[in-house]
Symmetry: C2
Subunit: 240 residues, 2 copies
């Protein structure tokens, strides 16, 4: 059975303007690979309602799981929850269980649960909450879309809350062989191996370091014996 597929949607002007360098994509990619869910596509869009809604709809139809990051805080530019509700054609309002989480938190810290903070308790109808052990304001899941915060420490914690609830496939195994030759010398034999082992995904990632051209050849698959066999062919052709 093929692995489940996933897409990620990164929401935020700050990434597209270059002000902030996204790190959530790399984290999620690694976590999904670890549990056998294939991340097939990532989109980054600005804080624009139409773009967010279009992307949610397109990705949720095409993939088993969608993960979003960003836009669920208390400020005017945090519009993700409302956009997700629109994408699923459901209502959205402050929900009692989410409000209770925030009320308990701010009672402890002494901050006021004002109108802005209450926006973080707006949850689309029918969604289930995602735990936020870092700063309490919850994420949520609706349909196959997991809506999470953009702050990396919170995103990471929410991913850790979510992943155990998902059924992954066979974990993708990977082996790497470093070859200190130009990719052009490797490409011919490598194409033959790729043809002979169609069940493996074989990538060539060139590097240039201290004047040396080379490539890391990465083979990925779910069957150890097949990986070992293909790697033995490669190593025979390009010994260390």
């Amino acid at each position: 059975m093929p692995n489940p597929t996933a897409a990620m949607l990164v929401i935020g002007d700050e990434i597209l303007s270059g002000r902030t360098r996204d790190s959530n994509m790399h984290h999620l990619a690694n976590e999904l690979t670890r549990v056998g869910i294939d991340l097939r596509e990532v989109r980054v869009v600005s804080d624009t309602a139409a773009d967010i809604i279009d992307a949610i709809r397109a990705l949720s139809v095409r993939h088993d799981h969608v993960f979003t990051s960003g836009g669920i805080g208390p400020t005017h530019d945090d519009i993700t929850a409302d956009c997700v509700a629109q994408a699923f054609n459901v209502g959205i309002d402050v929900r009692d269980d989410a409000r209770a989480l925030l009320a308990a938190h701010y009672a402890k810290t002494g901050a006021e649960l004002n109108a802005a903070r209450l926006r973080m308790a707006r949850i689309p109808d029918g969604a289930t909450l995602i735990d936020n052990p870092v700063s309490v304001a919850p994420g949520f899941k609706i349909g196959n879309v997991h809506v999470m915060a953009g702050v990396p420490s919170v995103f990471t914690a929410m991913v850790a809350s979510v992943l155990p609830t998902l059924t992954g496939g066979a974990p993708l195994l990977s082996q790497t062989w470093r070859i200190n030759r130009g990719e052009g010398d490797i490409a011919g034999p490598l194409a033959q191996i790729a043809t002979d082992y169609p069940d493996l995904s074989i990538g060539s990632y060139p590097f240039q370091k201290d004047g040396i051209y080379g490539a890391n050849i990465v083979m990925r698959g779910t069957d150890t014996a097949r990986l070992d066999a293909a790697m033995a062919v490669l190593q025979g052709l390009f010994p260390a």
Copy 2:
């Protein structure tokens, strides 16, 4: 006149598997902001022909400029050039000027211009070449799509070759004010400023450091006087 818009397409399994952390997106975002071109959308897709072709078509219709990174080397998984040709419904073959660049380069280095390396001279019909001062194999431009390498040093050099040929808009100016208060305390007044200054883009980027919650408020626009005025209101409400 509004600024030109752009999209980026990052091509490569290695980003989606988490093996490699992409840095080209952040570089391009900064460069485009500097010259007044609005990066509106980024997509990351795997080395799969249908996904690459679909993305090229969707993005080139919606934006003034598209920039791609990855998949133009000599190995079997480098399929970007062929996909771009398909997306534009044109032919593709080894082209004399591109072949001459490679031949001169490999004559110097002593490496063989074999079939694999010749693949890097495959250029879609009607494209113009993009200079590669790092490793010679050229990128190309067809329609509004700039096709560039994924290796960061080469990508950066190609961006530097391309940007002076594009007409940007008014450079986006930006001012930042750091407030050591929770976003929930800032959100109400900030929403009022955003309403009063609809010509500015105002973002709130929360942080949590050493137990302190705060936010950097970033205002962006093309008119210095308007930026100064809005910033003065914010600083009056939240003094240093």
